[in-house]
Each structure stands twice: as C-alpha cells, then as structure tokens.
C-alpha cells in the first residue's frame, strides 16, 4: 500500500509523468520500427474521434454565435460576429474544446488500456522480453496523440466556424460574405500557429498523463478505474491551467512585438 502523503504522491506522480514524456520523446528514433503501432494509434485517436469532435465543435460554434449574436444585435453590430467567432475559435475554443473531447474519449481509454496491461502482467512480460515498454507502448501513443490532436483541432475549428456562420445566417441574418469579411482580422497567421501549438502542448500533456496513470496502475479492476478517472481529472485541469499560461505568454509576446514595431 502506498502510504505517502497525498502531496508527496502528487509530486512523485508529476515527476514520473514528466520523465515518461521525455523518455518517450527520446524514443522517436524508433518511429520507423513502431510505424504500425503509431498508425494504429493515429487511427484510434484521430479518425475514430473525428465525428464526435466535429459534432461537438459544430454545436459549440452554433451556441457561441447565438449568444454573442444576441448581444451584438442589441447594439446593431451583428456584422462583427464573424470576427469574434473566428478569433475565439482559432485562439481558444478550437484547441481547448478539441482537447477536452480527446481527453474524455481517448485519454481515459488509453489509461485504462495501459492499466489493464499493467495488471495483466503484459508490461512485465515486455520487460522480461527485453522490450522497453516506453518504446513499445508509450511512444506510439504519445506520437499518435501529438500528430492527431492538432489535425483534429484544424477540423474542429473549421466546423465550429461553419456552425457559427450557419446560425449567424439563419437566425441573425448575417450573410456568409459579411461574416467572413471581418473574420480575417480575427485570425492572423500567428494566431493560427499559436492555436496549433497550444493544441500540440495539450495533446502531449494529455497523452503523458494517460500513459503515466496507466503505467502506475496497481490493484486490478479498481486500479484501472482509478487510473482512468485520474487521467480525466488531471488532464482537464492541466489543460485549463496550461491554456491560461500560454495565452498570457502569447499576449505578452504580441505586446512586445507591437512595441518593437
């Protein structure tokens, strides 16, 4: 039984997670050898999550357009709705909400899958076969997640903007060309890159948390459930926290750049 204080356990867990992430990134040299596993993970994480991520983002875009549209309509500024929706989608909602969908759908099952492998002695079996579990199990998942997270974010953001545009036209009478006229200002290239970078960071973080919880699973089915639950809670919290940090940093950089210019 682990008798450490919860604070000590948390610090140990965070340290293990960070080291596991670094170790798995150290095995990128095995990418060619593990290509089959990586493609499988890309399929599970990306292709199989595409429909739910798009559906989710469509509704987010629609609700967001409705709520902001009501306020803009009061001031007769409905044409600005495109600017607001596109900037919010590209900078925040796209990376963020896609990360949420992936954590719920992929992160939890990833932790459960690795946790089951751990309790079924599969991880031990790999070790005694001199097959490094980080290279065999963790790295393909981290790489698959890191590739598919940003790709899903692109799809999600586009669908979200489409949903917003649909509602703006159908319920607020904003024509698509008006919607898009201001939209360009909402998403400069730097905003798009930054949004994708955020998505990459969230993906790496969620994959590392899921794999780390899976690899530390003890205690059979109860342990697997715990690993899955902890993954969702920790990854969501970290995503929100990292998002705040990255956004603050981005604004600071932008201000600095503007000052220099």
């Amino acid at each position: 039984m682990n008798t450490d204080h919860i604070g000590i356990r948390s610090v140990k867990g965070a340290g293990y997670t960070l080291l596991l992430l670094l170790e798995s990134l150290g095995y990128v040299t095995h990418i060619w050898k593990r290509r089959r596993a990586i493609f499988t993970q890309m399929h599970v994480i990306g292709t199989q999550s595409l429909a739910i991520a798009c559906f989710f983002m469509l509704l987010v875009g629609m609700v967001f357009a409705l709520q902001t549209g009501i306020e803009f309509a009061r001031f007769g500024q409905t044409s600005l709705i495109g600017l607001v929706i596109v900037s919010a989608m590209v900078r925040e909602l796209g990376p963020w909400m896609t990360a949420f969908v992936l954590i719920a759908r992929v992160g939890s099952s990833m932790a459960a899958e690795i946790g089951t492998m751990k309790t079924a002695e599969e991880i031990d079996a790999l070790e005694v076969m001199s097959i490094n579990p980080v290279s065999f199990v963790v790295m393909p998942r981290v790489i698959g997640y890191a590739i598919m997270g940003p790709i899903l974010t692109i799809f999600g953001t586009l669908v979200g903007v489409g949903g917003g545009m649909l509602v703006a036209y159908a319920q607020l009478g904003v024509r698509p060309d008006d919607f898009l006229r201001f939209a360009e200002r909402g998403a400069e290239p730097l905003d798009i890159y930054w949004g994708l970078l955020k998505s990459l960071v969230f993906s790496l973080c969620a994959a590392a948390v899921a794999c780390s919880n899976g690899m530390r699973t003890t205690g059979g089915a109860v342990g697997v459930g715990r690993a899955s639950r902890n993954t969702v809670v920790i990854a969501l919290t970290l995503t929100v926290f990292l998002n705040y940090l990255l956004t603050s940093f981005y604004r600071m950089v932008k201000r600095l750049v503007a000052g220099l210019v």
Binding site: M1, T40, E113, T116, M117, A120, E121, E122, D124, A125, L126, E127, V128, M129, S130, I131, N132
Partner: protein
C-alpha cells in the same frame, strides 16, 4: 561514494556452475519480509520446482531473478553473472537468456497469436520474414495452436493463452524458462499437456527450468528436484520422493493438502511480526549431496489448525 555496492567478481564458468544461484537474498515489501535470506541453486538442464503456500514469496523470487525487482540484500547469479548490480542495459542483455511464462500468459492484447510469438524474434533478431514465420510455426505447433494463429488473446481460453505464452517464452530458445503457476486454472487434461511440454523441453532441448506451482501431481511428474518455500525461505529441497516422504510438518501439511502435519502457530505469529520463523534451513548451492537438507525445527507443542492466508479474499 563509499557505500556504493561493488559489482561482484564474475565467477569462472564451468560445467558445474549452477545456472541460477540465490545466496542470502532478502526482500521486504510494504513492511513485510517476503524473502528472508533465501538460498538455493538450480543446475544446468535441471527442472526445479518451487512449491509453497500462497503469499510466501515464490513469485517474488522469480521477479527478483529476472530483475523486475531488486533484492534488499544478497546475491543472485545467473550462469555465474551477478545480476543484482547490473545496469538496466546489462539486464536487458541478460534477460535474453530467459523465457518467462506468466500466470495469465501475459499476451499482448492487440496482437494475434502469430504476432505475439513473433514479437521477440522481431525485436531481437535480424531474421528474414520467412525464417521468423518458420520458427513461429514450429513453436505454435509444439503447443498445438498453429490452427489458431490468427486469433486474438481475448478470443481464446485460459489454457490456450498459457500455451501461447509458453510458445512465446521459448521463441528465442532461451537457456532458462521460468513458469509462474503454469497449471493454475486449467482443466486436468490441459494441465497434463503443459506438464508434458515442460518434460519435453527439458529432455529434448536441455533447457533449465524453474516452475512455481501449487499442484503437487504436476510437481512430482516434472521435477528433478523440488524446493519447499515457506515464508521467504527454502525449508527443504529434495527429489519428488524425498518431498513426498518428508518429516517436516510444514512440508507434509502442504503436500498432503492439509490432511497431515501442521503449521506452527508460533512460526506464523513470528512471521507476521516480521521475525524469522522458528526453523532454519541450510542449502548448499550446487552440492549434489545436499538433496535433502538438515532442518532444525522447533517442536510445536499444540498442533493447531493452520492459519494461512487465503488465496483470494473476496
């Protein structure tokens, strides 16, 4: 650093060098002493069976042997090489001497049986695809699973998983094969099949094998020597006949399924408090004459019903 453990000098490898040698190995887990100065050795080409009650450290000794755990003290030598001080890289190389059959088979869930058996070949050899396929076929035919090669672990029974696990364990023709309860949860017919395989691997392929089991029928039929594990120590090592006719209370109690002998309550209480049991055993590693060891056992005045840990607490 003055307190650092110095790697032991490599032992000169001779024909008489024990393949596996435990010397004074202790391990404490969660405050409980699981291995207590464990001493035993296994000769090259021998099938050594470890018997003993659940929770007495049999599986832990196997985990220490393959470096999945490190002992708190003592020495473990494999073919003369000290493994307790090996670096992770050295351990990786050393582990290639081993094939391990885990209790559940431990097959990789997302690979079919063919891919599972092929995995060690794919990872550690530069064989052509054709050569790999030949070896996989040979191993799967040995365990009578070639026709099921396309199936995934979730689609097959427990016995088939164990047989497939065995095929994978011997894919690289290891020098030593370890079995963690190979017959548990199997029907008698399949269990007998596994026993026959173990005997065949010893006789035909001259593999050194260590088998942890509860099943006495199986132990008697496969073992060259049997060691009785009791709370972290080997209390007796001997041939099947010597174990069958043992004078030790604990051994008689175990091998008769509780119908004879008794487990010392005093021993049990002492163990729970983390002290050594009331008996001591001396095992001379590699000494062929030391088949049946002299064991000093304190008399048990009132044989009480055994108070053993249940195997599975609901």
């Amino acid at each position: 650093m003055s307190g650092a453990i110095q790697p032991a000098e490599p032992q000169a490898l001779t024909l008489n060098t024990p393949m596996v040698e435990f010397a004074g190995v202790s391990k404490t887990l969660a405050g409980r002493k699981i291995l207590d100065k464990l001493e035993f050795s296994v000769k090259r080409g021998e099938t050594f069976v470890i018997i003993g009650y659940s929770g007495t450290g049999k599986s832990v000794s196997l985990r220490n042997l393959v470096g999945l755990m490190r002992p708190d003290e003592g020495s473990i030598r494999v073919a003369g090489e000290e493994i307790t001080t090996m670096t992770p890289r050295e351990l990786e190389v050393m582990r290639r001497k081993f094939g391990v059959l885990f209790q559940s088979g431990a097959l990789i869930a997302w690979l079919n049986l063919f891919d599972n058996v092929e995995l060690p070949l794919l990872e550690h050899t530069k064989m052509s695809r054709k050569k790999r396929a030949e070896i996989v076929q040979q191993k799967l035919e040995l365990v009578n699973l070639w026709q099921d090669r396309e199936k995934f672990p979730a689609e097959i029974s427990g016995g088939m998983k164990k047989r497939a696990g065995l095929a994978r364990a011997i894919a690289l023709d290891p020098e030593i094969v370890l079995y963690d309860e190979p017959c548990s949860g199997l029907d008698p017919v399949i269990a007998h099949e596994i026993d026959k395989l173990i005997i065949r691997l010893r006789d035909d392929m001259k593999m050194t094998q260590i088998v942890v089991t509860h099943d006495m029928e199986s132990a008697y039929s496969i073992a060259d020597r049997i060691g009785m594990f009791y709370h972290g120590r080997m209390i007796q090592i001997g041939t099947a006949d010597e174990i069958r006719n043992s004078n030790l209370e604990e051994v008689r109690h175990f091998v008769s399924g509780g119908r004879e002998g008794a487990v010392s309550v005093r021993s049990q209480a002492a163990i729970e408090k983390g002290r050594s049991p009331t008996f001591s055993a001396r095992v001379e590693a590699g000494n062929e004459q030391a088949e049946s060891e002299a064991v000093v056992l304190e008399p048990v005045s009132e044989p009480a019903p055994p108070k053993l840990e249940p195997e599975n607490t609901p």
